[in-house]
């Protein structure tokens, strides 16, 4: 992907023909990484603003409205405040691990952006193990959270870290199992392939969501389990501000805290993007074949549609956060092991049988074939 981009760039601009290919490839990689990271940071900043606005609306308040027009620059003010704050490391903390933990969490969350299929050709790297890559790299978050809890030398932080580890490890299982139906239908782990498998001129009925009843349930199972994996509110027992103060990042301040904060919002987007790619048709524009359009227009349309879907799901997460109260630890574990895990296994079996019996056809396609 990167190499082909570099080759086409060298072909397009004659002045670059003397530059060795690996240099160009590296350059392209750095630029793409910078663009994706900039998008991620900008998104995270604006998401905090939207989150506060949504919270305000739901709680009959107004939310930020002082900094800039409609308070839109609030996230910049917050960012500057966090940058200027004193960086405190507790005296009894394990300094090395304490400094390392936020970066691990941040990397675990933002490395997943690599395989997010933003558009027809807009993907940093179309790995052939995309889904596994996301699940594997986002597990790095657990390590960071555990380290943060341990190295802070604080009982609340340690409890929060332990809870987070237990929760994320538990919910990895239903998350993976709920994603597998999409993988089965596409026959590939590459996210671009999964998105392509949901195309066709059926519009939204090409989506995996409407493929069959099992995939429909699967989407909601995935979304619920993924919500727990991001430690968002109905499942935010690792943070649990009313009992653990704020869990594993109690002792963090300034820019180190900002890394945890950004990682949470990055996680929200990755989870929503994965749900979009696997169940909601990814970048497919309804009633329009984005791949057949000219490259620029196709990419623009598909990017817009993908972002609209993914950010819509992020908004849904915020809505859920400000609606539901926190679960207890035992309720959380029961929900994962006694409800989500068995049902996702049942779903996986159902989808497999469906694909076997109906030769991979979904309900909308069967109805369409009835009418010729």
């Amino acid at each position: 992907m990167m190499e082909s981009l570099a080759v086409s760039l060298v072909n397009a601009v004659p002045a670059l023909s003397g530059v060795p290919l690996w240099t160009m490839t590296l350059l392209v990689m750095v630029v793409v990484a910078a663009v994706v990271l900039t998008f991620a940071l900008l998104y995270a900043g604006l998401a905090t603003y939207v989150e506060r606005k949504v919270a305000g609306d739901i709680q009959a308040r107004i939310g930020p409205n002082r900094v800039g027009p409609l308070g839109l620059l609030q996230f910049l003010a917050d960012g500057i405040k966090l940058l200027l704050k004193e960086d405190i490391i507790p005296a009894k903390a394990d300094r090395f691990l304490f400094a390392l933990a936020p970066y691990l969490v941040f990397i675990g969350s933002f490395a997943a952006f690599v395989v997010v299929p933003f558009g027809v050709g807009l993907i940093a790297s179309d790995l052939n193990i995309g889904v596994y890559y996301v699940m594997a790299i986002s597990s790095l978050v657990v390590v960071g959270v555990m380290l943060a809890g341990w190295s802070s030398n604080n009982k609340w932080a340690l409890l929060g870290g332990m809870r987070a580890a237990a929760q994320i490890v538990s919910y990895e299982v239903p998350v993976g199992m709920a994603l597998l139906p999409a993988v089965l239908i596409a026959g590939s782990l590459s996210l671009q392939d999964i998105v392509r498998s949901q195309g066709g001129l059926l519009g939204i009925f090409g989506w995996n969501l409407f493929h069959n009843p099992f995939t429909f349930v699967s989407f909601f199972l995935y979304y619920t389990a993924a919500l727990a994996e991001t430690n968002r509110t109905p499942f935010d027992i690792p943070e649990a501000e009313s009992e653990l103060v704020s869990g594993y990042h109690v002792e963090y301040s300034g820019i180190r805290f900002a890394f945890f904060f950004l990682a949470e919002y990055g996680d929200m987007f990755v989870v929503s993007a994965l749900a979009t790619a696997c169940f909601l048709g990814g970048w497919h524009v309804p009633f329009l074949d984005a791949e057949a359009l000219p490259v620029a227009w196709g990419n623009l349309f598909s990017l817009g549609v993908f972002l609209a879907k993914a950010l819509g799901l992020v908004l849904l997460m915020m809505w859920i956060r400000w609606t539901l109260p926190r679960l207890r630890v035992d309720q959380l574990m029961r929900m994962s092991w006694k409800y989500l895990v068995p049902i996702t296994f049942f779903n996986l079996l159902g989808v497999s049988l469906w694909l076997l019996v109906f030769h991979g056809k979904g309900i909308p396609r069967m109805i369409a074939s009835l009418f010729g």
Binding site: I58, A60, W319, I320, T323, L324, Y339
Partner: protein
């Protein structure tokens, strides 16, 4: 728990979540529900009996020190001196509003009703010292010196009149001065104030002084 209970639990979870989210959505989209008061621009009208910052009308204050004595957190300090006309002159009246707990006892107890609660509640300062409200604009030492001087003058005048009455005084006779702060003269004057008209020696320390020592 059989299968029926299991499915019922799932249904319960889905239905209650949907119900809750419907409620929050209704609040979320209805702008009329907003109850926020945009503080610096708009604010609640404080109630009539709102206990805001204290204010002392020093023209009416009699320096009786009732407020100093009743204050549970000792935030009021008061200094006064006995003036030439035997009335107490307020030298300083400070309220540490940062320490005040707005119980209102001082206002209730004030005999001339000079101490009142205002409706003010906005005060932010850089240092704690700025939270001490000063109600006497002049410097306490200046007032004390002035009053002492007045008292001394009055005493000298009274003495001069007295000696003139007693034995037509020769010119240039130095008037005997009751030295300022002479404790014997002060105690004496207090015992028989009726006889010694305007003969009060200056600077008699009043009990209110104890309040004055608590200034931070």
């Amino acid at each position: 728990m059989g299968l029926k209970g299991y499915l019922h639990d799932i249904w319960e979870a889905v239905a209650t979540t949907a119900k809750g989210m419907r409620i929050t959505a209704r609040y979320g989209v209805d702008p009329r529900e907003t109850i926020t008061l945009q503080y610096p621009e708009e604010r609640w009208e404080p109630s009539e009996r709102f206990r805001g910052f204290l204010h002392n009308d020093i023209k009416r204050c009699t320096s009786c020190t009732m407020c100093v004595k009743v204050c549970p957190v000792d935030c009021i300090s008061l200094e006064s001196v006995r003036g030439a006309d035997k009335k107490l002159v307020l030298a300083s009246y400070d309220i540490n509003i940062g320490r005040c707990m707005y119980c209102g006892l001082c206002v209730e107890v004030c005999p001339p009703k000079s101490l009142t609660h205002t409706s003010g509640y906005e005060k932010a300062t850089v240092t704690r010292g700025e939270l001490i409200l000063h109600f006497v604009p002049e410097d306490a030492e200046e007032i004390k010196a002035r009053v002492a001087k007045q008292v001394a003058e009055a005493a000298a005048k009274a003495e001069a009149e007295k000696s003139a009455k007693a034995e037509a005084p020769p010119m240039g006779w130095p008037a005997p001065v009751f030295a300022a702060g002479n404790p014997g003269a002060g105690a004496d004057a207090e015992k028989k104030p009726a006889r010694e008209q305007k003969g009060e020696p200056a600077n008699r320390e009043e009990p209110p002084k104890e309040g004055g020592e608590r200034t931070e």
